[in-house]
Point group: C2
Chain length 154, copies 2
């Protein structure tokens, strides 16, 4: 049975995703972080409070270690992360969020919560919870992969 509206679902999923991401970055830009791109927020999350390495970051993002290294270069230049040599392993260079980076990570979470509250106001809190639960059920446990530019275009 082909209802013909199968395009609606992916379209709306993406529009929703994009609106949330754009909302966060519009607010972050207003608060003094205009250079951050959507990609960076996910990188911040992948780095986390404990820090990581370029290779491990690449693994988490689903991109090559070189690509991860370039992203780190950019964020380092922007002052959001810093590299430190690992005292236990001279090969590794720990990538850690700076204070500025941690601030962004915290603010991002807060703004996402605010945007989520707006959704709740629009469709109702219980409908939003159901939406989230259904999304999890429908999509399973698949992890997030960050290779969006290369994935989408080519």
């Amino acid at each position: 049975m082909s209802t013909g509206d199968g395009f609606l679902l992916p379209l709306r999923l993406f529009v929703g995703f994009r609106q949330l991401i754009d909302g966060v970055h519009a607010e972050l830009a207003r608060e003094g972080h205009p250079e951050l791109r959507p990609l960076h927020g996910f990188v911040f999350q992948a780095i986390g409070r404990d820090g990581t390495t370029a290779v491990e970051l690449g693994r988490r993002l689903g991109v090559s270690k070189q690509a991860a290294g370039k992203t780190i270069d950019n964020l380092e230049r922007l002052g959001y992360v810093e590299r430190a040599t690992d005292p236990d392993d001279a090969r590794r260079k720990l990538v850690r969020l700076t204070d500025r980076g941690v601030t962004v990570l915290i603010r991002s979470a807060q703004i996402f919560d605010e945007l989520r509250a707006e959704w709740a106001a629009r469709i109702g809190p219980e409908r939003l919870r159901a939406l989230e639960a259904d999304l999890v059920t429908a999509t399973g446990a698949e992890a997030f992969r960050l290779d969006v530019p290369g994935w989408f275009g080519s």
Copy 2:
């Protein structure tokens, strides 16, 4: 009130989007179209059955006319679209789907419907309808923009 799970929503929206797109392209690849990228499906939709021009395509996709032209070049090389001069306006070059392109457009719609049916089986048809309706309510009438590579990364 910060529940701290604000990250869940955008993440799951994107994972859902990506799973659907990947599902369609996996099947299309199986059916003889392995070179199509996620981007292309949306371009096909933007071109439509009636065809369009490079400038208009760029407008619909939210990218420059030059970028649209390059995408058309690629799809033309792959045999999915063709350019024809407009008899009423010698400046315009109508971009139309070839038979192969139309086939993909039709199959994409069918596969999306099938994937949607899988979602319905997993969470229930009425929950899926509610999910779609809530997404539309939450995101409003915003149009789809195709400048994903430049938007996300950069």
